[in-house]
Amino acid sequence: MFKRLADASAAGAAVTLTVDGKPVSAREGDTVAAALLAAGIDHCRTTPVSGAPRAPYCLMGVCFECLVTIDGVGSRQGCLIPVRTGMKVETQLGKREAGR
């Protein structure tokens, strides 16, 4: 859905995070949601009601569709949080698991 402009690929250092355990490369300056979109990851969560897949929608902190688990903390807004090397991102499946 998105590709990086040539000068944007050159800017910023490479950052490697994991998404559901798999390495994903991003650029410094990416938010978690932008990194997921750039990596072509189709959805970041499923809904608590029907289990339908959802992906980032507004990218400006309003819609809460990009909620992901980051370093063990659930329901973080991926579009507001900058990526860091070693960050562990997990997609959220349906109802939040107890104990998280």
Partner: protein, 469 residues
Amino acid sequence: MTAASDLAASYDLVVVGGGPAGLAAAALAARAGLSTVLFDENPGVGGQIYRGITTTPVTDRAILGEEYWAGAELAADARASGALIVNGAVVWSLDPQKLVGVSIAGKTRLIEARRVIIATGSQERPFPIPGWTLPGVMTAGAAQTALKAQGLVVSGRTVLAGSGPLLWLLAAQTLRAGGRIEAILDTTPWRNWLQALFHLPDFALSPYFSKGMSLLREVKAKVPVHRVDGIEALGKDRLQEVAFTSGGRERRLPADLLLLHQGVVPNVNLANAAGVAHSWNERQLCFVPVLDEAFGSSVPGIAVAGDGAGIAGGTAAAERGRIAAIAAVRALRPEATVPDPQAIRQKLQREEMGRAFLDLLNRPAESFRQPVGETLACRCEEVTAKQVRDMARIGCEGPNQMKAFLRCGMGPCQGRLCGLTVTELIAAERKRTPEEVGYYRLRPPVKPITLAELASLPISEAERKAVER
């Protein structure tokens, strides 16, 4: 990087939001000697219009246009003013006593403010069409944010749909960046032209006129535009096709990305939760705070500046921020020198010229604001338009009661993506005005915080003793 523990216990002025209004307000107030802090939840300042202005990887200035780059001066001026600017700072609470709850990197504080300027700007109006929750459907603003902040441009088969200046600006920026757009589905109703034409002379004199015309020419030369009166996003688990009706005919376009936009509306959550009175604006079809001429709200000491005060655009937002800041300075440091507010008001008037034309031309059709059937009104709790309409018909009188019946507005977005839809649906079914129906009563926390963050609040000895047996 400022940590929560670095903050003072109180400030003369707390500004919430680092877009044009917030940056201009903070800079003016700090220069006039107020201790000023600006909290912004994003990784960098600029708000949406100047998103990523200090960090954007887009080097070709022509792509985003000179208007975008004008934000660099605002950001630099605020930075140099002496105001403390804190990014990654989420304001989750504001009460009428002007106690500000703010979280930074997992730690929270309650900060006292003598004055508060809410500059939380606008958000895109909900665009509830069938399939708008499918992955592959996003807002035009989202694509613009990705372009400005990360240098990401659309790829694959992309369709834009809706109305309003931002849709055309994004189209132009995308084309300049080498992106491809299959089609633009223009939802502007024909009859809007009749209402808007009366205000065309004013608009022709406004700075937006020639810019708007050249944008339209630039885009229409490269992208087919269809005037449509119905849109549907189709696909299982992700967008595959966009169906639309144009001139009574249904057509389908295969698509990987559908970008929706039908204007922007004030982001009311923080002001509403602080108890600021709002009223329905029929021309802009949204709730706006009730404000005096210096943007002071119904809550003493709390002002709302920028597009949060009613939509007027980025340059007007900065002037509004300055006017609100002058009022704060005059209240707290009357001896300080401030710029002449008359001159600022004149600039503001020039900026607001032509707004009536834009508002009336871009008023979205009823069918795109008041969905029917299985179309989701509330994305978070997956509540359909039919459910809301049925509930209103059997007696539910307002959005707050609707929460109890259907849970709409009670998911993580706290009504941001369904509030206007639910109000309008109830009004339509019960033959009331949106003003009579009202809006959700919002309460803090207006942004999610964890219990651990709350527990991180510093506790004084007196507070500890108060609960000890």
